[in-house]
């Protein structure tokens, strides 16, 4: 009685192992192998120029930047060529397309939001603080000392008019973190900056990560009199590389190891500003 049961149990376990284990191994190999069969890595990039992360070099007219270099490193480790696609209409559109399998991965200072988590699967590689470049006049109108512990809460609950790129992570973050604020969306970052510096400005601050805010005053120091960078130490933008479900399953360990060995782990805004000092600091 016991022996036939034991035999059946061992047989069931063996058949299960035979059926399930090869499936797991085949899934990883399939994704990597499909890339290798194709011969190139399909990378989605946002349709903007965001130096020094990704941009067309004015002299060589070639796509360059640290995000481009990370993608190229991944391709070289996979022993394939690379193809960049910049046809997405916005950051969110790019993430949606990655999720649908249009690209093997999407990169380009892409932040992490709930909406994007519905569409694709992220792996973090940068950790940037949220930041404002705010008009000092508006900050003074709050009538609270910026060193006062209550300053942060008062600012977050104020009626500040925040400008940034529309349909970006910053629009989502502005609505979540600053519930009473008015968000003003712009087609691109240059338009947002111009709006802040206009005489009758329609915004009190522009919103992005510290590596985008600090270089504005570095390149034009006299702006420091009128405008002040506000760095939110507790609001962190987890910049991520996005994948489809299959891509995440197939490349996760590969990406982790490459980022650790070739990129130096997750980097924060201070490290990036320091590493690309020659780019950020005005000559």
């Amino acid at each position: 009685m016991f022996k036939p049961f034991l035999r059946s149990l061992v047989a069931f376990a063996f058949v299960s192992l035979m059926l399930l284990s090869p499936l797991q191994v085949n899934a990883v190999n399939n994704f990597v192998e499909s890339i290798q069969r194709r011969g190139y890595l399909k990378v989605g990039l946002p349709p903007y120029n965001t130096p020094p992360a990704y941009y067309i070099d004015p002299e060589s007219k070639e796509l360059t930047g640290y995000d481009v270099e990370i993608a190229k490193t991944l391709a070289s480790k996979l022993k394939v060529d690379i193809e960049f696609d910049r046809s997405s209409t916005s950051f969110n559109n790019l993430v949606e397309r990655v999720g649908l399998g249009d690209f093997d991965l999407g990169i380009g200072k892409l932040g992490l939001t709930y909406t994007r988590l519905f569409d694709a699967f992220p792996i973090q590689y940068l950790s940037f603080r949220h930041a404002f470049l705010a008009n000092r006049g508006f900050i003074s109108s709050l009538k609270v000392d910026p060193d006062d512990p209550s300053f942060g809460e008062i600012l977050k609950n104020s009626n500040i008019r925040i400008g940034s790129i529309k349909n970006s992570t910053w629009e989502t973050e502005a609505r979540v973190n600053f519930p009473n604020a008015e968000f003003v969306g712009f087609d691109n970052w240059t338009a947002a900056k111009e709006a802040l510096f206009a005489n009758d400005s329609i915004v009190d601050a522009i919103y992005r990560d510290a590596t985008e805010i600090k270089p504005i005053v570095y390149s034009k120091p006299d702006l420091s009199l009128e405008y002040v960078p506000i760095l939110f130490d507790e609001l962190i933008d987890r910049k991520s590389i996005y994948f489809s479900q299959e891509g995440r399953l197939g490349l996760e360990d590969f990406i982790d190891m490459t980022l650790q060995r070739e990129w130096g782990g997750i980097k924060n805004d201070i490290a990036i500003l320091d590493e690309f000092q020659s780019y950020y600091l005005a000559s």
Partner: protein
């Protein structure tokens, strides 16, 4: 190599005898200032912090007799002035009225003078290159961090909470000068209401404390030249020359206020002292007070000179003690005028229109914030202005950064203004003592 102990002794004694000579104000300009500037240019910026630390340690040493001096001077003078046994009511009213009127007049004068000079010089209206220099200096320094460990706010930490005494000995040991003053005034009033046989032991003890404190101040003041060499050369080594040039109009205003205050104080001295009182005084003592305060960067160092000059002229000791110590420590007229200039600098920098109402507000806030610097010294007095800037809704962090950057220079004329105007108040409010003694040469007191 063997060094003969007698050689070391000779070197030490020559240094000790040389230092008091260096304390003479004219030597500040002829020797100390040029030497410090040259030294500051020669030393590497990395060693400037060590030099600065040494200077600040010696400043701490110089400041150590201040609290017992204040405590004893205020207590004795208030007790004497309000005592019904030594003075009548008419005398008290006369002194009190003259002191209050002269103090208020001096505050009004200091604010008006600073205001007129600021309106004329227009500090804060900057050229594009000056704005660029300032902007470069402020990079990373004035960033606002939300969510980080916040530093203690200094903006609202003023006046009322610092004036009410808690325990006069605890206040004295904690260096709470304002609390010591208010506590001493109350204690002095209490002493004045008691019978002399009860209070005379305490009065004689306080008198001894006062004399010892003055003597101690005279001894530690010998270090003043070394302090100045350390502080000025450290400041020269690190100060941003670009910022000084960018804020030249502001700097000129502060220096002109000091010089104008000197002129007015000289006139008051001539007008409110008789020829007989000035017998034996070859140099105008206001000049000596000005130079001593300017060269040490501390108006309190002028107290012994001020006291001995006026009592030497036969002025009532209690009145001189009260008026000199209170005007030096409480009125802080150098800070009052400095703050008026700094507020106008900030308003100009941020294009805030100057209306008649705003001028009145500037005068009021300049006086309030300047007086709230009582009990603070040197660079610590600068942040008092932040309350006024918050009122005018002008961003104060960048203004403070700029003011602190050039404060090693401006603390000197600020102290000089306080010193000479305190002298003027003391001259106006004190009267000839009934039993006038032969006046000793006050210059020998320094």
């Amino acid at each position: 190599m063997n060094i003969n102990p007698s050689t070391i002794q000779a070197i030490c004694s020559s240094i000790l005898s040389f230092l008091p000579k260096l304390r003479e104000p004219r030597n500040f300009f002829f020797y100390i200032l040029p030497f410090s500037i040259v030294l500051g240019r020669l030393i590497p910026p990395s060693s400037s912090s060590a030099l600065n630390d040494i200077g600040l340690s010696m400043v701490q040493l110089i400041a150590f007799p201040a609290i017992p001096l204040v405590l004893s001077a205020v207590m004795i003078s208030i007790a004497n002035i309000f005592s019904s046994h030594t003075r009548n009511n008419a005398d008290r009213i006369r002194f009190g009225t003259r002191f209050v009127v002269s103090l208020l007049s001096a505050i009004l004068f200091a604010t008006s003078l600073a205001l007129l000079l600021s309106l004329y010089q227009s500090p804060g209206i900057l050229s594009p290159s000056a704005k660029l220099s300032i902007g470069r200096f402020m990079l990373d320094v004035t960033d606002i961090h939300v969510g980080a460990v916040a530093s203690t706010s200094q903006a609202n930490d003023i006046w009322i909470s610092k004036i009410i005494p808690s325990n006069i000995f605890a206040d004295a040991s904690n260096g709470q000068t304002l609390k010591v003053i208010s506590g001493s005034v109350i204690a002095g009033l209490a002493i004045s209401r008691l019978k002399p046989d009860l209070t005379s032991p305490l009065i004689s003890l306080l008198r001894s404390v006062n004399s010892i404190s003055v003597q101690a101040l005279n001894i530690v003041l010998n270090l003043a030249p070394l302090v100045l060499i350390c502080l000025i050369s450290a400041a020269i080594s690190t100060i941003n020359a670009e910022i000084v040039i960018a804020l030249l109009n502001f700097t000129i205003c502060v220096f002109l206020t000091a010089i104008a205050s000197l002129g007015v104080s000289r006139l008051i001295y001539r007008r409110f002292t008789s020829k007989s009182e000035r017998v034996g005084i070859s140099v105008n003592p206001v000049d000596s007070v000005f130079l001593l305060s300017l060269s040490t960067g501390s108006s309190m160092t002028a107290y012994p000179l001020l006291f001995e000059t006026l009592t030497g002229m036969g002025r009532n000791e209690s009145e001189v003690e009260a008026s000199a110590s209170l005007s030096l420590l409480i009125a802080r007229l150098g800070n009052v005028s400095y703050n008026v200039i700094a507020i106008l600098f900030a308003l100009n920098l941020y294009d805030v229109g100057i209306t008649p109402l705003r001028i009145v507000e500037v005068i009021g806030w300049g006086a309030i914030t300047g007086i709230s610097a009582a009990g603070l010294t040197g660079v610590a007095t600068v942040p008092t202005i932040s309350v006024a800037l918050l009122f005018f809704q002008v961003p104060y962090p960048p203004i403070l950064v700029l003011l602190l950057a050039i404060d090693p220079i401006l603390t000197l004329p600020r102290a000089a203004t306080t010193g000479v105007l305190a002298m003027a108040i003391a001259v106006v409010s004190s009267f000839q003592s009934p039993a006038k003694e032969a006046p000793p040469n006050p210059e020998s007191a320094v």
